[in-house]
């Protein structure tokens, strides 16, 4: 991994922990077979860092989050190592692992309304975990909850405690979710498309909130999104995933200005921009693929405008390039996007 230190937060309230994924591969059981959804993912989330995980369908970004949080369907298996400092979660017993995951890893999902019991008042939602896992008393849990609600920018937190989810707006509810994820004082927060379902102005507020929380509490955040532009401004570092693998890792801001991997280049070129109308949006032919359906060799090669014969044999390794990493044999050439013929192929996805 790159040795460039991102700007570390000045005052870290507590010693954060490093989350490391080492050659992590997750398989899901489909019928009688085991099919991979993420392949040999290496990832390091440093204390106080906001790491972005960007990808489209089948990229494996959500599966990575689920693997870390331990919410995979029955029959799924994970190879490799997931370490919190020195603790390897995969080598622990199920019970121990669950305890660590509950305490150290907070999760916020995309649609708060789908994950919240509409019959539970906010206070129940907030205090439940503390009382069950930590045995905290009701009064103590309540005051901590109120404290956290205030910390995430909710006004009149005492009043909010007594409200039901449907009395809160989407943005407010997502703030409650974040507060809820923080009740156990985790070292890592997984934000899985946490702002995707929100209005753009609310999204802006929530990402600012996450940045502030990270800076104030030394909280590490794994920020998962499909929006490269969003990841670019929010995250200290960004990883791009495709077909279950990490294909590029860059320091924040560099991914937008200087993408290395052909997929990233194409992805950036294909977006409409608010600044002007583009005559014809350059299009990546074909459809995003998943790990289980990936072709042999580089998973992106059938869609890649720079593909060579050599790309069909063997998956490229992640190599250090220009201050980042990319999984491409042509990474050292300074590839710039040439707009691909933009007509949609017959099998357009």
């Amino acid at each position: 991994m790159t040795d460039v230190q991102a700007d570390s937060p000045q005052t870290v309230a507590r010693t954060g922990r490093t989350l490391t994924l080492d050659e992590v591969t997750t398989y899901l059981r489909v019928g009688r077979q085991l099919k991979p959804v993420i392949l040999r993912v290496d990832l390091e989330l440093r204390p106080g860092e906001i790491l972005g995980l960007v990808g489209e369908s089948g990229s494996g970004k959500s599966m990575t989050a689920r693997t870390i949080a331990g919410v995979l369907p029955d029959g799924a298996t994970t190879d490799g190592a997931i370490r919190l400092d020195d603790l390897d979660l995969l080598r622990m017993s199920r019970k121990e692992r669950r305890a660590v995951q509950a305490k150290e890893i907070g999760v916020v999902f995309q649609d708060p309304r789908a994950f919240v019991d509409p019959l539970w008042r906010v206070e129940v939602h907030m205090t439940e975990a503390m009382r069950v896992h930590l045995g905290t008393s009701k009064s103590e849990a309540t005051s901590r909850a109120v404290e956290l609600l205030a910390a995430v920018g909710i006004d009149q937190p005492e009043r909010r405690m007594h409200q039901f989810p449907d009395e809160l707006s989407g943005g407010m509810l997502q703030r409650v979710m974040i507060a809820g994820a923080l009740t156990m004082d985790p070292s890592v927060l997984l934000a899985d498309e946490a702002t995707t379902a929100l209005d753009v102005t609310t999204q802006a507020e929530i990402v600012k909130l996450l940045a502030r929380l990270s800076a104030e509490r030394g909280l590490s955040v794994l920020f998962i999104t499909h929006d490269l532009a969003l990841a670019d401004i929010v995250c200290d570092r960004v990883c791009v995933m495709y077909a279950g693998r990490i294909v590029e890792v860059r320091e924040g801001r560099q991914i937008f200005d200087d993408p290395i991997h052909p997929y990233t280049i194409d992805l950036l070129a294909a977006r409409p921009t608010i600044k002007r109308r583009i005559d014809r949006l350059p299009v990546i032919r074909g459809v995003p693929t998943s790990a289980m359906n990936a072709p042999s060799g580089c998973p992106f090669h059938p869609r890649c405008q720079f593909a060579l014969e050599a790309c069909t044999t063997g998956v490229p390794a992640l190599v250090p390039v220009r201050g980042g990493f990319a999984r491409c044999i042509r990474a050292h050439e300074n590839l710039t996007g040439t707009p691909t013929p933009a007509d949609a192929p017959l099998e357009g996805g």
């Binding site: 489209e56 369908s57 920018g153 909710i154 006004d155 809160l168 707006s169 989407g170 943005g171 407010m172 703030r175 209005d199 753009v200 102005t201 609310t202 999204q203 802006a204 507020e205 929530i206 990402v207 600012k208 909130l209 940045a211 502030r212 800076a215 499909h226 929006d227 490269l228 532009a229 969003l230 670019d232 401004i233 929010v234 194409d266 992805l267 294909a270 977006r271 409409p272 921009t273 608010i274 600044k275 002007r276 109308r277 583009i278 014809r280 949006l281 350059p282 299009v283 990546i284 459809v287 995003p288 933009a342 007509d343 949609a344 192929p345 017959l346 099998e347 357009g348 996805g349």
Partner: protein, 279 residues
């Protein structure tokens, strides 16, 4: 065709409690705009802005409390029955947000398209398969997919099928409700190009509803910005997005990730506290 919306308002009456205290929810308030011949207009707003309700009133899925919708000078009936709807379907078609849900899960897409063609009497049953293939080709779908059901197709393919079905009625206006928000970025580009092509080739007018300002810039000539049911700003898309006048529009433009130059700077300014957006 020219679409003219004048003074459109929609109030929902909410009854709460046993004693019927009816309160009003004003979803749309005095909205007026025009979509000219072969024009492309967009309505932009956030949740609760009333943009979707406006679109639904235009196509006839909701009834306005006040105001009119006129096509080429003739007002449209507010409460259309099937025969009236059938006529309206030849003029305007809607493409919904979630492509998987807007297609009959049980019906192969070719059959769905054929149904529209035959229903409107545009081709006889025996001639229709050829037309179906024509339409599929126009949206970039392989004709072999005609026997597929929605769940066998990707989101992008479903949306293309939905567009093909809309085109099958040979309308003059397409109303697009968040047409690409449910799709991958790479697929979005394909669909946007497709829509631009179809507009150019068929002379279609487009009315696009979206929260995505970049999409609006790409697709529309004219834009209306709605907030809490009212139009707060409108004008040519370049003017409104490059030089927003209204405070709300400015806020929208500033909140787009591309516009947020540096999160660190904006963090210190705002502190990430809740604003009046969150009630």
């Amino acid at each position: 065709m020219r679409l003219e919306v004048t003074g459109l308002s929609k109030e929902f009456r909410l009854r709460s409690g046993l004693f019927r205290h009816s309160s009003h929810l004003v979803a749309v308030s005095n909205v007026s705009f025009v979509v000219p011949e072969s024009g492309s207009t967009a309505i932009v707003g956030e949740t609760g802005s009333g943009k979707t309700t406006t679109a639904r009133i235009v196509v006839g899925l909701e009834t306005a409390t006040r105001g009119t919708v006129a096509v080429d000078g003739t007002d449209l009936a507010p409460r259309p029955h099937s025969a009236e709807r059938r006529r309206r379907a030849r003029v305007m078609q809607m493409v919904f947000q979630n492509p998987m849900l807007s297609l009959d899960p049980h019906q192969p897409i070719g059959s769905a398209i054929k149904e529209v063609v035959v229903f409107h009497g545009l081709r006889s049953s025996s001639e229709s398969p050829e037309r179906v293939f024509e339409l599929l080709a126009a949206v970039g779908l392989d004709r072999r997919l005609a026997t597929s059901r929605p769940h066998q197709l990707s989101g992008g393919q479903c949306q293309r099928a939905a567009i093909a079905r809309a085109l099958a009625a040979e309308p003059e206006l397409l109303v697009l409700d968040e047409p690409v928000s449910a799709l991958d970025v790479s697929t979005q580009a394909q669909i946007l190009n497709l829509l631009a092509d179809l507009k150019a080739e068929l002379g279609l007018s487009l009315l696009t509803i979206s929260h995505d300002l970049a999409l609006v810039r790409q697709l529309a000539d004219y834009v209306l910005v709605m907030c809490r049911g009212e139009v707060v700003e409108s004008g040519p898309v370049d003017d409104v997005l490059s030089r927003p006048q209204h405070e709300y529009t400015r806020r929208l433009v500033a909140a787009v990730p591309e516009s947020m130059d540096d999160l660190a700077i904006s963090t210190s300014m705002d502190g990430g506290r809740g604003t009046t957006n969150d009630v």
